[in-house]
Subunit: 610 residues, 2 copies
């Protein structure tokens, strides 16, 4: 983990120049010193409270004792240390107890926790939940719920999926009906009775906090008692595990939310994942039927509100995936430096009387390590770049803020999907470097690989991200987002062409950009979405590789040419970038071939022929 | 699993025409009827005794109770059913109780067990062990040990690795010293005392059989008491867990082999994996120090003898990987046919009032299923093709037998590595098709993925296979093996060019073949092995894709053009082949780019720059 800090420092300060944000009024009290202090604190908590327990939370997975969900004591201690650090409200205004920290620094700090133990988790869901309330809630909802999430008293969830509706939110069947004639006059917001089953709810039940704030998608039946089909019928409700008064104190009443089951997962076992039944009558409350929930925002706007949280969550998943990729890299690098095995290829290795060399001396092991570095640090650059766009969106001048918003729209599916896929490959390589030892539970890498596998699934599967990218993001606003991105990539290419040692990479990147642009047009050439989107995933893979290659080239621009060969860190970056350009970027045409031709092989496969 | 049989039947009879083997004297009693009877039996045993317990052997992993290793009762029942079926000696001569079955049929039959439960395992190690003794053992070693392995009384292991010597066998430090002045006159072979620690020994300790026959690599010290460095100092010893008399009966003496530990693995938990201490004095035997072992073959020829077993084992691993890939395919196909979720892309799916469709109707899910079919059935074709070469090597006319031997040399690293890597990708796609459910332990696919991850590691890692392919197999005998393979691929291309509907694939294959040939030359252009082999793994990946594309095209040749569109099975093959040619084969140039340039990016990465 000690290896992470210099990489973060370089990307934050040398590359993104995040310290310059202190010139903006919101961040004017900040400087590199205060940012460093935050990073120091998070690095320390992660090292002391998270890293030592990562295996423990895997082997002692959450269990239900009939009354409550039991987690290892270490999980509660980690949560408390996290909450006490103030990171839950790091980005919030001073007047509600926040630090007014740039999101970029918050995101970077989060990487330390995720490298140490992704499944103990930080405050991703809680902060996202509270941020949503800050954006869409009433003043009292903010005060009673959001603020108590920011201070760590309460935690938060997002309840979207149902057993019959995972990726297909238009099929949400949870019902919310007005709770009595005075339902509109509750100080906490219009009060409803919520009934339905929610699936895959992370942190849906535990004793880590005093209360759990569920944000639940549900439909309000029309006058005919029927639910409106489709996503436009969806509203958003705040459904607390325990009822709370307008003063923020628990009333002592338990809401009608029952744990229907804990999912037993392949990995990421430090976090409970639950099936929750809302309002099934197991814990009747205030003499009515259904769990009590308060409308957030307007009826029918639930999905729009929820997307506020989902976009943050998607970037959070990308960062988790990146951190796992880096964790595996550090573990396998340590191992490779210590493990003697074999001798060099060629004459030098022919004498078996010579001692064995350490495996890091073998070219193929270096290849596996360099691939991990190239994936992990490339992904980290992208995540911090996206985080910096969030800051620009929130605090930039209007035009820059709008550009940042649109760029984020285009980059979010990549930020979610690329690290999930390629840092999984990195984790597999980390196992491979360890040989047989990597396949045992005596080394951490197999857990990283298992934990990582979730990231292509939750918060929108790979297929959902790809359809979002090609079906929506690159064509929205007349393709302006894609043009904007191309403009930024071209600026990097232009700058790189000024430096002879980067010209080869610049030309390769220009070619890939041209190819992705052409493929986008070709995919939509007939205007038929089913033809365009049949190969959306290969398109997203190519697009992601283009973006990561761009990140690497842009990172290299930060270092003046004469410096490139001097320090080991720069030499490492040059090699990792070269790895990406030589070993990875050439895959782009292979992925795009089927996109450009709108290849119908998969779509036309008859079911009975499988 | 019911889906596997028709695929096996097609490949065995329509494609490989295995029934024609009955024209050879060794197989003259056989016919398609007897082959089918064997397949029927194996399919039934796998269905009844293996498949129901695959999850059980994962959750109840082997444990040591202080006295013995405990496995679930189901494992013993499965072993007994397997042994009773006669499959352990299926390929052996009639006069020792075998069936004289072609290896191709034996290999195909093995796929049913591996699809049902790869980690309960069949007789791979035991049969390989006994086959080695049949090739290199004395008559009495065959009778006492090999025959009792073929009948299931004893089981076998291969003990190569040591804690300090995994892939690097020249560093084996286990010592074997003559056991007394009469050591050469033991009827079971020259008797030695063996001392050393062996690591990663599968099935190294259990109670499934009356005895365990360990085949152990060790070194006989020279007159100076030192071990000869390098592989030429290695000899092979038969070290039974319990001592056996020349009559084949246990003498009642336990040999000095102690279980030093069970490895706790990521998957493949139905099979014990052990650290064994030979001759450490825990179970002193016959008043001397060291475990008693009998020399097999000549001193110093241990590795050559062991390779007899390793090549079989490598093909066996390829088949296990293939079977796991198919198991995930069948599971995710079943799920996709039943799970409703979402609506079609485009206008047809706009009405949320319409019921959801099953996910198999989505193009992206079809893509994930077709990729699995393309990987799994393509790999199965390769495994059966290799098995057919084994039969040719054993029973063909001299020239054909020699060709088969050489082709097997070249294809073995591909047969081992390609299914290990790409059927792992298939298993990941099987999880992805299941969405969140795939990440839970309520569905079988996560276990397939975990079990599969071993295959790139054991029996020679990916890196070892790649170095073997590029460093040895394609250049041995003046490159004759590669020429032979190219000749066969060209024959397929020529035949395919006669059929207009296959011409596109034929041309693509020709291009890939040309490219691989050129890359082979370019890699070796300087004659420097360290430059040539620095990118051996990308070379192997490209080579593997070439081979699988060839398999698919050759399989399609079996079906007359007018038949292609008629039956669902043929339509499926046409689509799976097309998937491979359109989505996979274009990756070949991306992998070869670094091979052709002998790209030094990885090899030149300085250690301190990681």
């Amino acid at each position: 983990m000690s290896s992470l800090r210099p990489v973060v420092d370089f990307l934050l300060y040398d590359w993104l120049k995040v310290d310059q944000l202190s010139q903006r009024s919101r961040f004017s009290d900040h400087s590199r010193d205060t940012f460093d202090a935050v990073l120091d604190t998070c690095e320390r908590i992660a090292r002391e409270k998270y890293a030592p327990h990562n295996r423990l939370v895997d082997t002692e997975e959450p269990r239900f004792d009939g009354e409550k969900v039991v987690l290892p004591a270490a999980t509660k201690q980690a949560w408390e240390a996290y909450a006490e650090s103030g990171m839950l409200s790091a980005a919030q205004d001073y007047d509600i107890g926040g630090m007014q920290l740039p999101y970029t620094v918050e995101a970077a700090a989060g990487a330390f926790f995720a490298v140490a133990s992704v499944s103990i988790g930080g405050g991703l869901l809680t902060v996202g939940n509270a941020n949503l309330l800050m954006a869409h809630g009433t003043d009292l909802q903010k005060q009673v719920f959001a603020l108590n999430e920011f201070n760590g008293r309460f935690s938060g969830t997002m309840c979207l999926s149902e057993p019959q509706a995972g990726s297909s939110l238009s099929d949400v069947a949870t019902r919310a009906t007005p709770d009595g004639p005075d339902f509109e006059s509750d100080p906490l917001g219009p009060r409803y009775r919520v009934r339905g089953n929610k699936m895959w709810i992370s942190a849906g039940e535990h004793e880590l906090t005093e209360n759990i704030v569920h944000l639940v998608l549900a439909k309000i039946p029309g006058p005919d008692g029927k639910l409106v089909a489709g996503t436009r019928g969806i509203s958003l409700f705040l459904v607390p595990k325990k009822l709370v008064g307008p003063d923020g104190q628990l009333t002592g009443e338990r809401n009608d939310i029952a744990l229907a089951g804990l999912n037993h997962k392949l990995g990421w076992r430090g976090t409970t994942n639950t099936l929750l039944n809302f309002g099934e009558g197991k814990f009747p409350v205030r003499g009515g039927a259904g769990a009590i929930g308060y409308l957030v925002g307007k009826p029918g706007e639930g999905l729009r509100c929820m997307f506020h949280m989902m976009n943050e969550a998607r970037i959070g998943i990308g960062m988790a995936a990146t951190a796992l990729g880096l964790a595996g890299y550090y573990a396998s690098l340590d191992y490779a430096k210590q493990r003697p095995q074999g001798r060099p290829v060629g004459p030098a290795g022919k004498d078996p009387g010579q001692p064995q060399v350490r495996i890091i001396e073998h070219a193929d092991v270096k290849r596996m390590l360099l691939a991990q570095k190239s994936y992990g640090e490339g992904a980290l650059a992208l995540m911090l770049y996206c985080a910096r766009l969030v800051d620009e969106q929130h605090t930039g001048a209007p035009e820059a803020a709008d550009e940042a918003r649109l760029l984020l729209e285009v980059l979010t599916p990549i930020a979610k999907s690329w690290p999930s896929e390629f840092c999984l490959e990195a984790n597999s390589l980390a196992i491979q470097v360890h040989g047989g030892y990597g396949y045992t539970r005596d080394f951490p890498v197999e857990q990283y690989w298992r934990d990582q596998r979730l990231n292509m699934i939750h918060e929108g599967t790979h297929g959902i991200q790809a359809a979002d990218l090609l079906g929506r993001k690159v064509v929205m606003e007349g393709g302006r987002g894609l043009q904007l991105l191309a403009g930024r990539i071209n600026a990097t290419i232009e700058a790189a062409l000024q430096r002879p040692h980067l010209a080869e990479h610049a030309n390769a990147l220009a070619k890939a950009l041209q190819r992705v642009g052409a493929a986008t047009k070709a995919a939509w050439a007939t205007g038929d979405p089913s033809a365009a989107l049949a190969n959306a995933v290969p398109y997203m893979q190519a697009f992601g590789h283009l973006v990561i290659a761009w990140m690497w080239l842009d990172v290299l621009l930060t270092v003046p040419a004469q410096e490139q060969a001097r320090t080991p860190a720069h030499v490492g970056r040059v090699h990792a970038a070269r790895y990406f350009f030589h070993y990875e970027l050439p895959k782009v045409p292979a992925w795009l071939a089927v996109v450009e031709t709108r290849d119908p092989t998969c779509a036309q496969m008859p079911e009975e022929a499988f």
